[in-house]
């Protein structure tokens, strides 16, 4: 092979194009959600979100090139310190953080606000990758499992303490990474099963679920009577299901905060309090009206009335998809989703062709993080999932979010372009 020393190794152009597409669409949509019909002289004023976002995009670009200039060993070297730093920041948030909308996740640094939970995601990914890269690590012993769970669990508990349900779910998505590294598929199916049981238990009487599951599992046990091992597992699952189904409503009513219950009730179509009707249900309905009124081809850029006239709340941040859906319609929304799918699938490909566990685990974690963000964010704006304050990667307004996603993608690309190095 020909090892010519170049300033930059070639990077994957598909991911780069997707990245640029999303960032530019993001700035355009933020502009659209603030545009009031006239271009005033203060167009370039820094008080506008789109100018700030464009500025953050420039910062991100600089960072992108800086990262491409890094040596991968540096990344590996800073992995653990980075992890320690983000855990420290998460602790600081709990101590001195500012509280907005029931979530305590900002640190005010004067000029701008820092949201450490955004950085915690890739910090954890790096630490996880670094640990899997430990020589002799095979992810089989109990000790290895415990350390892996601890690496993920510590920041998860801290963001949970902040009341940031969205970030919790993102950390939960690390299960896909563990699955890739050898954790059985059963755990993912089990997670899915728990979600289904939870939803069913909230919609219908839990005792009906208990009855049905006992009947179902007894039949399974009857058919597999010869396989003693399977019978044991099935029995455990059956008892677990019964216990879980009956405790869901208790957890729902006593552990979850009131606004979280309201958000779930809206999705499940349950009776709402007056406050919830005026608050979350109204917001969600306005978001659906915005997206639904976009029709097939959309109203055209800068023609969205719902988003521009503030009927949809938080249009530039969490509900930016409403602006896209309204102005670009079904076609535009589908294209946006396809761009995300292409980018994620391409990153998965890059992960799988990584030669070192570090690159593979890290890239896989990046895909899992972005995937969770996209699904939860779009899902909530169209009423599929409860409203959870979580940004749409690269589109939503917010410096912390844009920089952290840029960092993840840039490092993943860097690792890919340098993948031969670990073979040397």
């Amino acid at each position: 092979m020909n090892y010519k020393k170049r300033a930059y190794d070639p990077i994957d152009s598909t991911v780069l194009f997707c990245y640029l597409f999303l960032v530019i669409l993001g700035i355009m949509s933020i502009f659209a959600s603030e545009y009031n019909g006239v271009l005033s002289s203060s167009f370039f004023s820094f008080k506008h979100s789109y100018i700030k976002q464009a500025l953050w995009a420039c910062v991100s670009g600089l960072m992108f090139f800086t990262i491409l200039g890094f040596d991968r060993r540096l990344l590996q070297f800073i992995s653990y310190p980075m992890y320690v730093l983000v855990v420290f920041l998460l602790l600081m948030v709990l101590l001195v953080g500012e509280t907005t909308k029931g979530q305590q996740n900002w640190i005010n640094l004067g000029a701008f606000k820092l949201q450490p939970s955004e950085f915690a995601k890739f910090g954890t990914a790096m630490a996880l990758a670094k640990y899997f890269d430990t020589p002799g690590m095979r992810f089989v012993t109990r000790r290895e499992h415990m350390i892996v769970y601890a690496i993920i669990g510590l920041p998860l508990l801290l963001v949970a303490a902040q009341g940031d349900a969205g970030s919790c779910l993102v950390f939960a998505a690390f299960i896909f990474v563990l699955n890739r590294e050898g954790l059985s598929d059963l755990y993912i199916y089990l997670g899915l099963f728990i979600v289904v049981i939870s939803v069913l238990a909230l919609i219908i009487n839990p005792y009906i679920i208990v009855g049905i599951s006992i009947l179902f599992f007894l039949l399974l046990i009857y058919w597999n009577w010869m396989n003693k091992q399977l019978v044991k597992i099935l029995a455990v699952i059956m008892i677990g299901t019964c216990f879980y189904a009956t405790s869901v409503s208790y957890v729902f009513n006593n552990v979850l905060a009131k606004h979280q219950r309201d958000r779930i009730n809206v999705i499940l179509g349950k009776e709402l309090t007056k406050e919830a009707k005026r608050g979350i249900a109204y917001n969600l309905n306005q978001s659906k009206i915005a997206i639904g009124s976009g029709g097939i081809l959309g109203k055209g850029y800068l023609q969205g009335t719902q988003t521009r006239y503030n009927y949809v709340p938080e249009t530039s941040t969490d509900f930016i998809f409403s602006a896209v859906g309204e102005e670009w319609g079904f076609v535009g929304s589908v294209i946006l989703i396809i761009v995300y799918v292409v980018m994620l699938q391409r990153l998965l490909l890059l992960a799988n062709r990584q030669t070192s566990p570090y690159g593979r685990v890290y890239t896989y974690a990046v895909v899992a993080i972005i995937f969770t963000h996209v699904v939860i964010n779009i899902g909530m704006t169209i009423g599929l999932l409860p409203v959870i304050g979580i940004p749409l990667p690269l589109l939503s307004y917010g410096g912390s979010s844009l920089i952290s996603f840029t960092f993840m993608i840039a490092t993943a690309l860097k690792l890919d372009s340098e993948r031969q190095m670990s073979m040397r």
């Binding site: 890739r180 639904g292 009124s293 030669t355």
Partner: protein, 653 residues
């Protein structure tokens, strides 16, 4: 080096999740068109632009009703902060308590949109407030128009506007919306669809805080309002105001008609009120006061109050008798001082000779008219009295009695001219004769007429045989287009020469008869007094007449309730009206009479009303059921309910 699980669960999960999102989006954006409507409803607000309502002018071009700008002060509660309540009170002339209560109410009902805070603020107060409007950013102004009446008169005929009811909205087939105003009475009501014009609309784009963001589609779907038709009436505004002045302190009505055209010159319902009262900020309070008033100022007496026409009926009675040829002009009758039927006597004013019909009218001889009426009905040419009465009824009916005349106002009553059928029911077929129902001959008994009908009957005599449908409106005009109310010439079929005879008699009434007080210098005034006997109080004073005798310009009927003889109040008032209309001024020697009429106060004060037992039976004659007089009533032993059926009680406004 590959390791671990190659199942690619995340890869599949991405595809599956993307598919689910796309399917949901397909349902939302492609299969649910309602969202487009909802988004439209959110953003686009329809704002009504009210057209200016048509003006109302009198016959000389004087403006009787015009539109004046008033101002509603609106407040949007959710953007109100740091309100300087004291300053606001000072500027708007209100008190702190009012501001607090009103803001509380708005907070509870519509905090998110501009809501009326003070309605119908007058110009000067508004001008002062406007200078300081910038101090109250959540306050805004809505300009509206209200009706103004420079002559402060004509409330009964012009009518007033009020907020539409659910029923009005239904009947207007979608034109009116909640909160609109429409004509409720008088001309405003009758010509509402023309006066109101057509509302315009503008579609505005608003944001979630209801702030104006621009026109929808650049105003493509906007509609400019179309102004209403202006209305020129036949009324004489000065005469109208003069009539109301003469009638102040008295209950009753005046109707003056121009005989040649049927146009109403004056239309007085007394007690009257200043129509401006019902347009001001305090209109609700004022309306309640008027509504509860003992004398019912909201009742439209000229067409809704029914009185016995009394002796004014005799002119028509004489005409039908002459036409029928029962007796001629020179038929001689000696009045023995009354007309006896069985035990009952219709009294007259002492015994005297009546050499001709003119003399009969001049002295209003009761027995003469009883006799000719009796002879008309009992004439041998008729098979029975019922046939004779039917003929008499037919002829009186074409005189305008017993049916509505078709004036352009709602709620006209038809009076009462009892029919053969009615008497058959009461007395039984063939069990009654002229003598049984003799009171009709002198305008008493069951006969009831509205002041309009009596004035109209005079117009027929003035015209020597016909009347034009009485109308208040001459024409409506808009952009050089004209619309006229449909009028018809109604012939009576009575020979002109008989009218000449009767007119001579009516002239004598004023010159040397019962109404000498009504003489007007240089004008030949023909008229007839009437004193309607009233079973529950003092007699009604009535006068009807026309002037001048040759080529008449005005026919008039005056009713003054419980005022005694026709010559006491009704005749002088009628003569003053006629003099005012024909001469524009009142002769100097008649000024004392005018002052006496204006100052006469026949209505009871609030205190008197309270002290009297009248309180127990708070009913006015004009509100009473038709009550036949003793003579015919007692003989017949009529049950009350049969009467009330034939003559419906006037509805209260």
């Amino acid at each position: 080096m590959q390791r671990g699980n190659e199942s690619g669960i995340l890869e599949k999960a991405i595809y599956i999740a993307a598919l689910i999102l796309i399917v949901k989006l397909f349902f939302l954006q492609v299969l649910t068109p309602e969202y487009k409507l909802k988004a439209h409803d959110n953003v686009v607000k329809k704002v009504t632009i009210y057209p200016s309502r048509g003006l109302i002018l009198d016959r000389n071009g004087e403006v009787m009703v015009y539109n004046d700008a008033v101002y509603d002060i609106l407040v949007q509660w959710n953007i109100t902060k740091d309100l300087d309540t004291l300053r606001l009170c000072e500027l708007l002339n209100t008190n702190v308590e009012f501001v607090r209560l009103k803001l509380d109410e708005i907070k509870r009902t519509t905090p998110n949109k501009p809501t009326p805070f003070i309605k119908l603020l007058d110009g000067p107060t508004f001008a002062r407030f406007q200078e300081h409007l910038f101090e109250f950013p959540s306050f805004s102004v809505q300009t509206r128009t209200v009706r103004r009446y420079p002559f402060q008169s004509g409330a009964a005929v012009l009518g007033y506007l009020s907020e539409v009811t659910e029923n009005n909205i239904k009947q207007s087939s979608g034109y009116y919306e909640l909160g609109d105003y429409m004509g409720t009475t008088g001309l405003e009501r009758y010509y509402d669809s023309l006066l109101r014009g057509e509302k315009g609309y503008t579609y505005q784009v608003v944001d979630v805080k209801n702030t104006y963001k621009g026109k929808y589609k650049d105003g493509e779907e906007d509609k400019t309002p179309i102004a209403g038709w202006d209305m020129v009436t036949g009324l004489d505004a000065e005469l109208q105001a003069y009539g109301e002045k003469l009638m102040q302190g008295k209950v009753g009505g005046i109707v003056a008609i121009e005989p040649s055209t049927g146009q109403i010159l004056a239309y007085v319902s007394s007690p009257s009120f200043d129509p401006n009262l019902l347009t001001s900020r305090y209109r609700r309070h004022n309306f309640n006061v008027l509504f509860k008033d003992y004398y019912k100022p909201l009742l439209n007496r000229p067409i809704q109050a029914m009185y016995p026409p009394g002796s004014t009926f005799k002119a028509a009675a004489a005409l039908v008798t002459l036409q029928q040829g029962v007796h001629d002009e020179k038929w001689y009758w000696f009045c023995p001082g009354g007309y006896r039927i069985g035990r009952h006597v219709v009294n007259c004013h002492g015994s005297h000779a009546v050499p001709d019909v003119q003399t009969a009218l001049q002295y209003s001889c009761n027995s003469y008219f009883c006799k000719i009426y009796n002879d008309f009905i009992m004439d041998s040419t008729f098979a029975n009295p019922a046939a004779g009465y039917q003929k008499w009824w037919d002829m009186m009916n074409i005189f305008g009695y017993g049916h509505t005349l078709g004036i352009d106002l709602k709620g006209e009553k038809k009076g009462n001219l009892p029919t053969v059928k009615y008497y058959n029911k009461v007395f039984g077929e063939n069990k009654w004769r002229a003598a049984t129902i003799i009171s009709n001959s002198i305008g008493q008994g069951e006969v009831l007429a509205t002041p309009l009908q009596i004035a109209n009957a005079m117009a027929i005599i003035a015209n020597h045989g016909y009347y034009i449908t009485p109308k208040i409106v001459k024409y409506l005009v808009k952009d050089n287009q004209y619309r006229k109310p449909v009028v018809m010439r109604h012939e009576t079929g009575i020979d002109t020469m008989y009218f000449r005879m009767v007119a001579d008699g009516l002239e004598k009434v004023v010159l040397a008869g019962t109404a000498r007080i009504a003489q007007i210098p240089d004008i030949s005034f023909c008229g007839k007094t009437g004193t309607a006997q009233n079973p529950h109080g003092k007699d009604h004073s009535i006068f009807s007449g026309f002037a001048p005798k040759v080529n008449p310009k005005i026919a008039i009927a005056v009713f003054v309730e419980n005022a005694g003889f026709g010559a006491t109040y009704a005749a002088p008032i009628a003569s003053l009206m006629v003099e005012k209309y024909l001469n524009d001024t009142i002769a100097k020697k008649r000024i004392p009479l005018q002052e006496r009429m204006i100052n006469a106060k026949l209505m009871k004060s609030e205190m008197e009303l309270n002290s009297e037992q009248l309180i127990k039976q708070r009913k006015l004659d004009s509100l009473q059921k038709a009550k036949a007089l003793k003579d015919s009533l007692e003989k017949a032993k009529i049950k009350k309910d049969t009467i009330s059926k034939s003559a419906p009680k006037p509805k209260q406004p």
